[in-house]
Symmetry: C2
Subunit: 213 residues, 2 copies
């Protein structure tokens, strides 16, 4: 059975997957970019922003694992971009440039309809206005037997955890405290998950949580 | 300046320092004892319950560090015992037998007055009914220039963090998810703390948080 997987979610020690006051000027919330510093130390992370070099250790391996056997992606609107409300005549096409690193269909949850956006390299952004279940249904169909990755943001992941839909969740705990922000786990059914892998790197501690049978 | 230090607080990956439904039958809440399994693998932890043997690695070192240069302890009532309400004619003298491992004054926060309880080995339990600030004042006086340790439970630690009173906080993150329980960090000023040490062991990940200057 294809799985719904979440990978490379960075969380602060105090449980936040984004800082407070998320918005156009702070897409990850105040201080939230510190959650992701470990990513940009790696080869994978540097390639995402068009840079060469980077480390190739534990963190790199976890980042790559997030792409293995993934046939489609679902994400919340805030992960796609900072724009809120109607799309208007926006030419916003995501954070990832002309050739996003997905190379498959990406279903973006939104309350506002928008036409499909075909990008270079096989990525098509498809905007889903009728909710998470619908997006997941379309994503599993598009994935053709492979797994579906659920991207962020935290609210989207939390909703899927609450509904018991996530099969595997990989969290990278960054050694920072944010004090306020968007919690990853609050009020969900996390107790249904077991930690099946714990691997510290030099920068973060990786936890893989698997839904109990 | 003597410091207020918190040591060896076990927290689940989802941020809980005790499970849900704490009470006489579940002093650590449902599932909460899993937070502390790492302690009873060590020599220090086994000695606490009158057993021999145990590991002597990273976890042991952190447990011992919690005693270094401590002159007095403050703890919440729930850490002292499972009894709620009036003390009555209770002969409860803590979880630790006739000779508790403190060997100094221990100030127990309670709403209900009780006479001092002098134990073997230099530990005296003193019951404080006028709040955390008062208990800390008495503890620093009793510590005679050494540091004061703040024990649990989670609610007591949270209150002290909220008030900006904690200088150093050592958290051991256990690779479990509880789903519900008593949060360690919720709604406090954790952002004022920096992670100054991160040391994984085979069983938990140790974080030392130090208050920013």
């Amino acid at each position: 059975m294809p799985k719904l997987r979440v990978h490379n979610v960075a969380m602060s020690l105090d449980g936040f997957a984004a800082g407070p006051e998320q918005g156009p000027e702070n897409p990850l919330g105040v201080g939230g970019e510190r959650l992701h510093e470990w990513i940009f130390e790696t080869r994978y992370g540097r390639a995402m922003i068009g840079q060469e070099g980077g480390t190739e250790g534990v963190d790199e391996a976890f980042l790559r694992r997030g792409d293995d056997n993934i046939g489609a992606t679902v994400m919340g609107r805030n992960m796609f971009g900072p724009i809120r409300g109607e799309w208007g005549d926006s030419s916003w096409s995501g954070w990832w440039g002309d050739e996003p690193p997905y190379h498959h269909d990406v279903f973006v949850l939104t309350h506002h309809p928008r036409a499909d956006l075909v990008m270079k390299g096989g990525t098509t952004f498809r905007f889903v206005t009728d909710g998470l279940d619908s997006a997941l249904g379309r994503a599993f169909a598009a994935a053709g037997g492979r797994d579906v990755r659920l991207g962020g943001g935290a609210a989207t992941i939390r909703a899927a955890l609450d509904a018991g839909l996530v099969d595997e969740l990989h969290v990278a705990v960054a050694p920072i405290v944010l004090g306020l922000g968007e919690p990853l786990f609050a009020g969900n059914v996390a107790a249904a998950y077991q930690v099946t892998d714990l691997t510290p790197s030099e920068r973060v501690t990786h936890y893989v949580l698997t839904k109990s049978a």
